[in-house]
Structures are given as C-alpha cells and as structure tokens.
Symmetry: C2
DNA sequence: CCAATAATTCAATAAAATTCGAAATATCGA
DNA sequence: TCGATATTTCGAATTTTATTGAATTATTGG
C-alpha cells in the first residue's frame, strides 16, 4: 500500500457520515448493506450517501455489487488491514514488527486500549 | 476515544505533509524532532509546517515541548493505539476481539499484510 | 538591552470537500 | 411497455482546508 492510497483511505474515513457507514459495514460483514438502507440509518439523503459511498469505494475500503435494484456495499477487510499495517510500520524506528502491542511501549499501550 | 476525536485524528493524518511528519515522529521516538527540522525535511515553509503541526496536536496525535528556542514535537503512541483500537472495534459483529488478525477473516488478512 | 534564531499567529487567497434537489439510469413486476 | 423502486450523476451554493508572506512572540548569547 502506498502513501497516496493511504491518504485517500484516511481521508475517506475522516468524515462523520462515512465513518458511520464504514463501521456499519464492518459490523455487517460479507453480507453487506444496500445504499438506501445506509442512507436511512445514517440520516442523509440518497444523493449525499451516494457521494460518500463513492469516496469509500474510490479509497478501496468498500466493494459494491448489484443485487436486483439494490446496490449492496460491503467493507473490504483487506484494505482495512493494509491501512493498519501501514500506520504501524516503522513504529519502532524502522525495525519492522508484526506485533504493534510489543512495538509501542506497553506501559503507554495499556492506557490506550 | 470518541468518534469526534477519531475523525479529527483521521483527518489530521489524511494529508500528505502531516502524514509524512507523523511518520518521521513515529520513527524518531520519544526524543522527538524540532518544528524547523520537520519543515526542512518535508520541504514546506515554517508557517505551513506550524499549521500542520497544530492540526496533529489538536487531534492529540503529537505532544510538544519547548527546549530552548526550539519546540520539539513527538508522536503520542497512546493516541495512535487508541485510534487503531477504535477502527478494529466491532470488527466482527459487535463482539469485542483483542486480536484483529483473528477477527478479520484470516484468508483475507494474508493478502493484506 | 540588542541582534539573531526559532516558531507561531494573522490575513488574504486559492483549492478541495460537502450538501442536496432535480434529472438521469437501471431493474423489476404486472 | 409502463409505473414504481433503488441509485447515481449533475450542477450550483456553501463550507472547510491548505498555503504562505509578513508581522508577532519567545529565547538565547554577547
């Protein structure tokens, strides 16, 4: 994952309605949720929801599939994992570490999680 | 960590120069880096760097301390951990899980990390 | 105190993101 | 094919962000 795409992903998540939508999708799993249902649950008009979903899709954070008249969105867990990996990469001075909990000072980590 | 602060943190990181600065600080550790050095390394004028550092500080992602004439910035690992925790929270349908690798479908996780 | 250094704040501008009604597109059921 | 449903695209107004030179604040050494 390159910084360019990371910035788009972070930017996509850095918005109230999109963060809400993404979290609903994370919880919904592979089944996904139709655009209209997301709009209703979040409380924004369909055209606004469509705009936000396009941002998430462009960032690669969600996938979309048509099912009859509905377009169903689902979270892309791989992209999510990639984003997290990028953010913790080099978290202890350039030395790669698989376990952020061990990399980030434990005493500080306790209060964080 | 509440969604409001999460959005500010994500927004703070969703910008080329700020992401670059934060990564330098993550690698620098507790020692930190003076504002002027960051500006020079990233290639932006001091006033621009100051603006961006203020965003990061406002989001709680960095701390600042004065040392003689310099103001030295350092990454806040706790905030970083909190952000990651929020993003993976509920990642498998509302059931809390400490290990995102086990929560996010392993087969998908492989291609991501 | 004064000149030099380090950063920030201010202000004005430029660029990007958000909002949402109205119009357009796609799909289904009868 | 027609009408209803589900979404997206378009367009235009609004709001938020980003950029930087110039002025301001803080600190040090002489």
């Amino acid at each position: 994952m390159q910084s360019d795409q990371v910035i788009r992903a972070l930017g996509a998540l850095a918005q109230e309605h999109r963060l809400a939508a993404f979290r609903l999708l994370i919880q919904a799993g592979a089944e996904g949720i139709p655009a209209g249902v997301l709009a209703e649950r979040i409380g924004v008009p369909p055209s606004s929801m469509s705009f936000h979903l396009a941002q998430l899709a462009n960032a690669g954070l969600v996938s979309q599939r048509r099912e009859s008249r509905s377009i169903i969105y689902a979270a892309d867990y791989a992209a999510m994992g990639g984003l997290m990996a990028y953010l913790t990469e080099n978290c202890c001075g350039g030395v790669p570490c698989d376990d952020p909990a061990a990399c980030i000072p434990p005493s500080i980590m306790e209060t964080a999680l």
